[in-house]
Symmetry: C2
Subunit: 150 residues, 2 copies
């Protein structure tokens, strides 16, 4: 949108629109390929990814907080992935009212298979971007992430 | 996620996860405030914003292509905003089979009212981020945007 005349636009709005454009563009590209090649939504992949990073499993609260894509409520995603045998629910060892969600061996295998492809798509999307631009982005996004989390 | 051990993660994945984290975090914050203060979704606000930038109106194809947030099909968003009197559909002057969608005066007034608040929220979210970090981000995202659009 920065190619259009918008001299009245605040610099922070310009920054936010660029950030949103880039994230949406990449998200849409990854979503299309996940659907076409694995019949999987980005939300499901994100959920499996969060569980793979937490070998001891996560409670529903932890899982919801860590999800990065928002489409689809976490509970219904968990229900469908459990039906497919990719994750399981067990009672928390010290609090039986709390449920721990973790990957099944099949879920881990399936996630790793898709993650390899997903990684190659991400590398392809950033290919051709200069090392300098990547370094600027990594540094600037690191500062923004820290700022937003504080 | 870069605070967790993930030494096996490719640098481009790390970059993409930072980008996704920042965009999702800001999007969620803006969505909450839009809902709380104006009862409006980010998708509706985005749609009004695209129309405000196109004084002659847009066709449905142009509008769908320019939408940056993906939740909600554009057609149903247009239907609901038309019911609320915020936009109108007219026949294209040289091709009556094509519909042009544009803001009504009420739609423009409502958009500008919300946009002022939205701008102040965005400024608040980036507040405290150093000028250097903002410059890095603007430059890095500019390069990425150009790369993704090419």
């Amino acid at each position: 949108m920065d190619q259009r005349p918008n001299s009245g636009e605040h610099a922070d709005i310009r920054l936010w629109l660029r950030l949103l454009y880039c994230a949406s563009h990449i998200e849409t590209a990854l979503q299309s390929r996940l659907t076409a090649e694995f019949g999987m939504s980005l939300a499901r992949f994100d959920l499996l990814s969060q569980l793979e990073r937490a070998p001891g499993g996560l409670t529903m609260t932890e899982l919801s907080r860590q999800m990065m894509v928002s489409n689809g409520a976490t509970t219904s995603l968990v229900d469908r992935l459990a039906e497919d045998g990719l994750l399981e629910r067990t009672a928390h060892p010290s609090d039986r009212r709390t449920t721990i969600i973790s990957l099944t061996p099949l879920g881990r295998e399936r996630f790793l298979e898709i993650a390899r492809e997903h990684e190659s798509w991400v590398i392809g999307l950033f290919e051709g971007l200069s090392g300098e631009a990547k370094a600027e982005l990594l540094s600037g996004l690191g500062a923004l992430k820290q700022h937003l989390s504080s």
